[in-house]
């Protein structure tokens, strides 16, 4: 394996991990608050679609990104309303919303782009942090990425800090592990959970936009293809800790990237095996390596006084 290949592998892993990472850290926030958002998948898809449609309609990828995020907020609010106020089963509503979004974006895509399948969608540009950009090999292959990736990293860092050092983070934790105690300490449990779901919405929208206007500058029907579910897997795998969740995302990204490196190296492995590699690794990890998982005690339990 040449050095260049290693660099490409690293770059590829990061790119494949990026949408997972954005979505997973968003999902982590709401799971920590006790809401299991199976709808990350749908939120990502809607974000991807609205971002692409917005960028196409306005000609500006930045506006597209803003539109993508704005479009997901009502969906997140709906998820929150269903699972927090109506106390609906969170897995059901999540899957229902995913199905709804899949149908709706497909229909809308046909309406908007139906006859123009070769339309160009403006995308976000790449950027490399000064300094790092000059590194040989790595500068080009690893650090030159859509700037959204860097924004995402900053946001993830911010989330990590807020979870640990702010009253909001503490309140969120309480809402997820001991909502009754939180309530009796005068915290607005439901409002906290609403807020957490909205954060998930924003992060998932960013993840979706990363897929559509960030990485490949196009939208395709149902393009998330289970990335949202994998993000949830990463959260569980990460044992509801941000650092480990990020590591899980990178692992999934690397396992997927390996699928393209091995054939390029001339290693002959059945491609079915290569394609299932990320899932296989994840399975092995949750089965043993990751140890016993300890979910927030009130995860997916609606709170009612």
């Amino acid at each position: 394996m040449t050095e260049e290949m290693v660099a490409v592998f690293a770059g590829s892993s990061i790119r494949l991990a990026a949408p997972l990472l954005l979505a997973a850290s968003g999902e982590l926030v709401s799971e920590r608050a006790g809401v299991l958002n199976m709808s990350v998948e749908g939120m990502m898809l809607l974000g991807a679609f609205a971002g692409a449609a917005g960028a196409w309609a306005t000609g500006s990828p930045l506006l597209g990104l803003a539109i993508g995020v704005l479009a997901v907020l009502p969906l997140a609010a709906l998820q929150a309303y269903l699972s927090i106020t109506l106390r609906a089963n969170q897995i059901v509503t999540g899957i229902g919303l995913n199905i709804l979004v899949l149908g709706a974006t497909t229909l809308a895509y046909r309406l908007l782009f139906g006859g123009r399948s070769r339309v160009e969608i403006p995308g976000l540009g790449p950027w490399a942090p000064p300094g790092l950009a000059q590194l040989p090999l790595l500068g080009e292959q690893v650090f030159r990425q859509t700037w959204l990736l860097y924004l995402g990293l900053v946001l993830v860092g911010l989330i990590a800090w807020a979870l640990r050092h702010t009253a909001w983070g503490l309140a969120l934790h309480a809402a997820g592990t001991a909502p009754r105690a939180a309530d009796q300490s005068g915290l607005p449990v439901r409002r906290l959970r609403y807020g957490a779901v909205m954060v998930t919405g924003v992060m998932s929208a960013l993840a979706g936009c990363f897929l559509s206007i960030g990485d490949i500058h196009t939208f395709t029907e149902g393009m998330t293809k289970g990335v949202g579910y994998l993000a949830i897997a990463a959260v569980i795998f990460g044992n509801w800790k941000l650092g480990r969740t990020l590591a899980a995302c990178l692992l999934f990204g690397a396992a997927t990237a390996l699928q393209f490196q091995l054939p390029a190296l001339g290693v002959d492995v059945p491609s079915a095996l290569l394609i299932m590699l990320p899932y296989l690794l994840a399975m092995l990890a949750v089965a043993g390596l990751a140890g016993r998982q300890r979910a927030p005690a009130a995860l997916s339990v609606p709170y009612h006084r």
Binding site: T93, I99, I232
Partner: protein
């Protein structure tokens, strides 16, 4: 019989049924509005839908066969759910079930066996394979504390790619390569290993798996509601520590619940393969495991719920196919309606529960 009638009457008094009906009709109405917005006459759309869903003996049979698969997966889901285990692995259980059924039907020398063993043994193999797949998640849950949602989900992805791999290799299930163009599929299974058609006529290809499905539905219903095992599963799910303290075999029950769910999923796979498709292809499970999961979720722990949900989704999809063909309404619309039904039912669930408790 009188008993059944009483259950039915009690059921009809439940507001849950009316709320569900309203949700379905409401979602359907939204769908029709969308149809109208697309410029398609509503009556045409309705006619096309009805024709596709139940317009001919063939349509009815196809819808019912599909409902059967969804019902089996849904049954598995509520079985595990009784122990508070969320089995999202239906798709993978179908996949391994299909592989096992194919393997036994083609290479298990069962084709000439008498008394229905020729198709019964592959069915059994599928159930065992599904049970193994579900049990794996159960084992991990009971002994290693692995979250079953993620385990079953990952096992689903793995199993579907296993099918992909199995039909790629002649050493596994691929048919012999007679030319470079031989498709990556298994050989068609022998006729005697196919599940017999109830009518004996391909014009109405309703197969005998339906009877098995109804039987299993009754069994699961009774076990979950009216047996010691049902209460024990429930207790284990609600408070595993207390259940262990009380001396219940917690781990065995956890594994057992997922084994049963997996077996039902495996049977669903066998029904798809031996009842309809007759040869194994990559992607043969077609997302039915996930649809069945939704049926199970919406059933809210009731076998009747599974029955109605499976019928609803089975006929909905059949109608949707025709809707697009005849009235040029994209099938995506049916997907939207499906999503709306799920969301409204889920949203109304709390209200339904309240009503039931207040009774």
């Amino acid at each position: 019989m009188r008993h059944a009638l009483n259950i039915w009457r009690a059921g009809m008094r439940r507001p849950a049924i009316w709320i569900s009906l309203a949700a379905v009709l409401g979602a359907g109405a939204v769908g029709l509005v969308l149809v109208a917005a697309m410029g398609v006459p509503v009556s045409d759309a309705l006619a096309a839908f009805a024709d596709g869903a139940w317009g001919s003996p063939y349509a009815v049979a196809s819808s019912l066969n599909r409902s059967l698969v969804l019902a089996l997966v849904g049954l598995g889901f509520i079985t595990a759910q009784r122990a508070q285990l969320t089995n999202v692995g239906g798709e993978g259980q179908i996949a391994v079930g299909g592989m096992a059924a194919t393997a036994v039907a083609l290479y298990g020398h069962v084709a000439t066996l008498p008394w229905g063993l020729s198709f019964g043994l592959p069915l059994l193999a599928a159930a065992l394979a599904g049970a193994l797949w579900g049990g794996l998640a159960g084992y991990l849950k009971a002994w290693r504390g692995t979250n079953e949602v993620i385990a079953t989900l990952l096992l689903s992805f793995i199993a579907t790619w296993m099918v992909y791999g199995a039909v790629q290799s002649e050493a596994l299930l691929r048919q012999p390569m007679t030319s470079a163009a031989t498709l990556p599929e298994s050989l068609p299974i022998p006729e005697s290993t196919q599940i017999p058609l109830l009518t004996g006529d391909y014009g109405m290809p309703l197969h005998a798996g339906l009877l098995l499905g109804l039987l299993l539905m009754a069994v699961v219903g009774v076990v979950l509601r009216h047996t010691v095992l049902g209460v024990q599963l429930h207790a284990v799910g609600l408070n595993p520590r207390a259940a262990r303290r009380a001396g219940l075999p917690v781990r065995r029950l956890v594994v057992g619940a997922l084994v049963a769910a997996g077996a039902l999923g495996g049977l669903a796979g066998a029904c798809m393969l031996q009842g309809e498709q007759y040869s194994l292809k990559a992607g043969f499970s077609s997302g039915y495991g996930f649809d069945g999961l939704v049926v199970g979720l919406l059933a809210r722990n009731s076998v009747w719920g599974v029955l109605f949900g499976a019928l609803l989704f089975g006929f909905l999809r059949s109608g949707g196919i025709n809707l697009e063909m005849v009235a040029s309404v994209p099938t995506a619309l049916v997907v939207v309606i499906q999503g709306l039904i799920i969301i409204t039912l889920a949203g109304a669930a709390q209200a339904m529960d309240r009503q039931e408790v207040a009774r």
